[in-house]
């Protein structure tokens, strides 16, 4: 059954249709003019969520690209600095080779000055900053990495021992702030080497002392075995240079008078020294320059023979501040009272007091290496030529080791930079992908929207036209 339709109903129905069409047309027009199809969440709730996710992702990727750029700048800067440092060490190596052959004191002084200059440059690099942050202080970026003594030589590392990292994308940690120890610190401990005449040799085990030390072997007391009647002279404690367990050194006594009042005495088969019963502090020198002071006032009458000496002493590697009695064992630990580090020594072969140079190859940092080179060039330890040459060899090894290590660090940084490049490419890809999804989801499909808009316009025209036609017909027109 067809419904009865009144003109009022017709009009209101058409008005309702018209309102809907105009509303749709207005929405389409807004989409077209703004270029965006989602203006509020209800336009497309899922699409809105996607847009939000992608917008956040785009923003985040842009931030990450910025962070990658920042990390790259720091690493490039650090790499340049380390490369400079490596060049400095290479220059020092050339100087060392030159100095090894040089004999002219003036030339040596000049070369030592050049090393000093290189050292100052290296200090500048080690405390270099980027954007106000120390490059080589680990996480302690706010302070200089190395403290410097009055002569400008770095004394200790005061940065952090933790490498500063930045986190990219919430997942990838990148080492950016290297610690000073990582770059300029020691590389790999080698076998301890001792230069000197005391007879101390490195013992088994790993030492902890670093760089180099002066090993002071000090004589404290000499005692004589047997019944010869010989006694330490008044200068024995401070003047004897012999060190050794019983029997290491020997005195040969010949009582020429037969009553102990006169005779000759020699040390370790060295030259004979005449004595009388009036000598309380007779200096007796051995074949290698070793010295003992003896008291011959009570030589046993008729004594002719050999007397074993026991020469006690102490060891120190901190300038005498901490002295350790020599126990003539295969492994004796000598501690540096300043920092608690130690060296293990085999003291079984100790024969004389004196000062040895103990070198700990591979444990000197780059600054110590240069400072040591300077000292070697100037031969501050007054080493004989062969030992000085050996020391040069150690310096060169250290320089090469340090230089090689810096190249390793540069290599690590290069790998990190490559990682950053890959990360950057990946982030850029993700950025483009996110942006594409956002655009596809959020922006207007112009072709579809314009066609739909045109359709709505046509519909509006039809509606208005049909309304006008239908409403135009009335019975009134036919009543006269």
């Amino acid at each position: 059954m067809s419904l009865r339709v009144t003109p009022h109903q017709l009009l209101s129905s058409m008005q309702s249709d018209l309102t809907r069409q105009q509303s749709r047309a207005a929405d389409l027009q807004r989409d077209i003019t703004s270029g965006v199809r989602i203006h509020r969440p209800s336009d497309d709730p899922h699409g809105q969520e996607v847009v939000l996710q992608q917008k956040a992702a785009v923003q985040r990727y842009e931030t990450q690209l910025g962070a990658i750029g920042e990390a790259r700048n720091r690493l490039n800067n650090a790499q340049t600095q380390i490369h400079e440092a490596q060049q400095i060490l290479a220059s020092a190596e050339q100087i060392a080779l030159q100095a090894r052959q040089a004999t002219d004191p003036n030339e040596l002084t000049t070369l030592a000055g050049e090393v000093d200059s290189l050292l100052q440059q290296l200090v500048g690099i080690a405390n270099a900053q980027y954007a106000g942050e120390s490059l080589f202080a680990g996480t302690a970026t706010g302070t200089a990495a190395w403290t410097v003594d009055e002569s400008g030589v770095p004394t200790s590392y005061v940065g952090s021992d933790v490498t500063g990292q930045i986190l990219l994308g919430g997942q990838t940690a990148i080492d950016v702030f290297y610690t000073g120890e990582e770059v300029f610190g020691d590389v790999a401990r080698g076998e301890t080497v001792i230069f000197g005449q005391t007879g101390a040799v490195p013992a088994a085990g790993t030492d902890t002392a670093r760089g180099s030390d002066q090993l002071i072997v000090r004589h404290t007391a000499t005692t004589y075995a047997g019944t010869s009647g010989i006694q330490p002279g008044t200068s024995s404690a401070d003047g004897d240079t012999v060190i050794g367990a019983t029997g290491t050194h020997q005195l040969q006594i010949t009582d020429t008078a037969g009553d102990g009042s006169a005779g000759v005495v020699s040390l370790n088969g060295g030259p004979e020294f005449p004595f009388t019963s009036g000598d309380t502090n007779l200096e007796v020198t051995g074949p290698n320059g070793e010295v003992v002071y003896v008291d011959t006032t009570a030589i046993t009458a008729g004594f002719n023979g050999t007397v074993d000496l026991t020469a006690e002493g102490t060891l120190s590697i901190d300038g005498g501040a901490t002295e350790i009695p020599i126990d003539f064992s295969a492994s004796q630990t000598v501690v540096d009272g300043n920092d608690g580090t130690f060296v293990r020594l085999d003291t079984t072969g100790l024969t004389r007091a004196g000062v040895d140079i103990v070198e700990y190859p591979g444990t000197a940092n780059a600054f110590q290496t240069l400072a040591q080179l300077r000292d070697t060039i100037l031969n501050t330890s007054n080493l004989p030529a062969d030992e000085r040459d050996e020391q040069f060899a150690l310096r060169l090894e250290d320089l090469q080791r340090q230089g090689g290590h810096m190249l390793d660090v540069i290599g690590q940084q290069s790998i990190t930079l490559q990682q950053l490049d890959r990360l950057e490419l990946r982030t850029e890809d993700l950025l483009i992908e996110a942006e594409t999804v956002r655009i596809e989801t959020e922006t207007t499909d112009f072709a579809a929207s314009i066609l739909a808009f045109q359709e709505e316009q046509t519909m509006i025209q039809y509606t208005l036209a049909s309304l006008a036609r239908v409403y135009d017909v009335s019975v009134l027109d036919f009543i006269r």
Partner: protein
């Protein structure tokens, strides 16, 4: 005998019909008007002189309203449902508007917050970025507070509108009662005016816009109108609807002084009450839940980190509890506290020696006073709960500082060791979970000397072998060896005996309990999402206090990384903070879309019902014109009849005259 009365009756009937038509045409566009029609009936015939029965003319039996009860009832119900949906839609659109992403919206601010965190993580010493980070947090806070205020305003507006609607309902109910009274009187006098009935229907229609009206009330001329879920009974008098509030501030409607709340089925008022009691509180609760998750997480991270100012001398809690003597579960903490350990590290300033103390807290049994007592028992610390505010204060003694960053113990517990070497722990723990390892010497020997001397590292919880450390020949005493996840061990020169063991603990989460954020200890924010939220003033004035590290060093981004990682943590349900916000927005959009669909459907049904109603009751001027012509002609014919009768009678009279 020709009867003039027949003609007269025809004239009268036509006249009445024409009047009815005129009235229909006049009210063709009147809202609520039902067209009327004249029902005629022929008068009973009389026997004329020839013995035949002749009709006596015509009478108007009734002027009838054209009215389809079932359609009118359906239309009333549809109107009511549509009004209810319209009211809900308006509120949902408001909520949608509040959650619509735009520049400066919560979505933008939270993204900025995390973006700047990532930027700062790349340049941790940049003071400008530090300030920007704090400022970005301020932006998030501003939006959280703005949303809280907006929801509160929305509820106030809804309350006002509900009160206005209730007043309108009462006015309409009163008017209906008056019309009912008039109809009752009219019924008593025998004639009920169609206008009165239309008026009554019109009022009921208006009432159904506001509250549900029992469909049986529609078209029941002059009867009882049952509305508002059956609670509003309108006869010749009307009860009053009242607005009340329950203990939670939710609106309840009551009729007169009854205590049982009215349960509205439909109508604008039902929609408004739903919006006020459910939609807005739910949206506000969703945002509050989101905000609390954000605040708690950020505060927790911040509390367990260190700023450039390093460890603290005093920390004042900014969030109090109701009763410091009650177990924390029942004490009214701002955020829930869970069972676990809280680590407090005390640093002796003169030596730099750090000692981490682990307090085990069970919120089911421990009160804040108990916690304060535990902290008070730590050497170098004192703790106090302010009785009035329920806030905790921790202070360090002279020469001490403390923090909650969960540092590694420099000296592990090694009292059971018989060897002479001293273990020292260092490094920075990078693991994701709290960890504990047991290190055991596999043989006796001298550190750095004995070949093959090793320490086995086992996971203390599972016993799993993690790694083996060579500490004999080749190891340099004092040099760090990595145990796991950035934690290092160094041994001094000395000896190890076979079986010598010690335990190393590393904390990823120094506060498993969440107590620090619950009490606002060294927190990023003060207040809660309830409306008093702000960035901690001390942080705002001095961004160097921003806890970006766990060591206090500017290049240490370990804590900052936790802020960055927070972005990807699924904190609420299975969603990240940004995801959840997008979800809330999407849900708001979906709700609007759903109600729009509902309204569209109701509207479509309404249009159909309207068409049916108009088909029955609407005035068609063309139709009326045609009827008018018919009655006009009828009137003309009747008049001619009377004229003819008159002429005929005159003819008869002329015969007499």
């Amino acid at each position: 005998m020709i009867h003039l009365n027949i003609g007269l009756s025809a004239l009268r009937a036509s006249q009445t019909a024409l009047n009815t038509i005129a009235n229909n045409i006049a009210n063709a566009t009147t809202e609520g008007y039902h067209r009327q029609e004249v029902l005629q009936e022929s008068r009973a015939g009389t026997i004329d002189g020839s013995g035949h029965s002749v009709g006596a003319g015509v009478d108007i039996k009734q002027i009838r309203r054209l009215y389809d009860v079932s359609v009118e009832r359906a239309l009333s119900a549809n109107t009511s449902h549509q009004a209810e949906a319209d009211a809900r839609l308006a509120t949902l659109e408001d909520i949608e508007h509040l959650l619509t992403p735009a520049t400066g919206s919560l979505h933008a601010e939270i993204s900025d917050f995390f973006d700047i965190a990532e930027q700062l993580a790349a340049s941790p010493s940049d003071n400008v970025l530090r300030s920007q980070f704090v400022s970005a947090a301020d932006g998030v806070v501003r939006e959280i507070n703005r949303l809280a205020d907006s929801f509160a305003s929305l509820q106030t507006e809804l309350q006002d509108q509900i009160e206005r609607d209730v007043a309108s309902v009462n006015v309409l109910a009163q008017q209906i009662a008056e019309v009912n009274e008039e109809i009752r009187i009219a019924e008593a006098t025998g004639t009920v005016s169609n206008t009165l009935l239309d008026r009554r229907d019109q009022l009921i229609g208006e009432l159904s816009q506001l509250v549900d009206v029992d469909t049986q009330s529609v078209g029941d001329d002059g009867g009882l109108v049952v509305a508002a879920g059956g609670w509003l009974l309108i006869g010749t008098s009307a009860p009053e609807l009242q607005v009340d509030f329950d203990d939670n501030g939710m609106i309840e409607l009551h009729v007169d002084s009854t205590s049982v709340p009215v349960n509205l089925q439909s109508g604008e008022l039902a929609g408004l009450v739903t919006a006020h009691n459910e939609l807005v509180p739910q949206a506000a609760a969703d945002v509050t839940e989101w905000a609390n998750a954000f605040i708690q997480s950020v505060d927790q991270i911040h509390a367990t980190g260190l700023g450039l100012d390093g460890p603290f001398s005093i920390v004042n809690g900014t969030r109090g509890i109701d009763d410091a003597t009650l177990p924390l579960d029942a004490a009214g903490t701002a955020f829930p506290v869970t069972e676990g350990q809280l680590a407090i590290t005390v640093t002796e300033q003169s030596t730099g020696q750090r000692t981490t103390h682990r307090l085990t807290i069970d919120p089911a049994t421990d009160s804040l006073d108990d916690v304060a007592a535990l902290i008070d028992g730590i050497a170098g610390l004192s703790a106090l709960v302010e009785p009035q505010t329920g806030k905790l204060t921790i202070a360090a003694g002279t020469g001490f500082r403390f923090d909650f960053a969960g540092h590694l113990d420099q000296q592990p517990e090694s009292s059971a060791m018989t060897g002479t070497t001293v273990p020292t722990i260092g490094g920075l723990f990078t693991g994701a979970d709290n960890s504990q390892w047991t290190l055991t010497a596999t043989a006796a020997g001298e550190v750095g000397v004995t070949p093959g001397l090793q320490l086995e590292v086992h996971n203390a919880a599972t016993g799993q072998l993690i790694t083996t450390l060579d500490v004999g020949e080749g190891y340099e005493a004092g040099q760090p060896l990595e145990i796991a996840s950035g934690v290092t061990l160094s041994l001094s020169g000395g000896t190890l005996d076979s079986g010598d063991a010690f335990t190393v603990s590393a904390l990823s989460n120094p506060d498993e309990t969440g107590l620090l954020s619950a009490l606002g200890m060294r927190s990023f924010f003060t207040g809660t999402a309830a409306g008093d939220l702000q960035v901690a003033p001390a942080l705002r004035s001095d961004p160097s206090r921003l806890a970006t590290s766990r060591s206090g060093l500017p290049g240490d981004t370990s804590n900052l990384n936790r802020f960055v990682q927070l972005r990807d943590e699924r904190l609420i349900g299975n969603e990240t903070l940004e995801g959840q916000l997008g979800d809330l927005t999407g849900r708001a959009g979906l709700a609007v879309q759903a109600v729009r669909g509902e309204i569209e459907q109701l509207s479509s049904i309404g249009e159909r019902l309207q068409a049916e109603q108009v088909a029955k009751s609407g005035v068609d001027p063309n139709e009326e014109l045609l009827s008018m012509l018919e009655y006009q002609r009828s009137y003309q014919v009747a008049a001619r009849f009377v004229t003819s009768v008159d002429q005929t009678l005159n003819e008869v009279l002329s015969l007499i005259g």
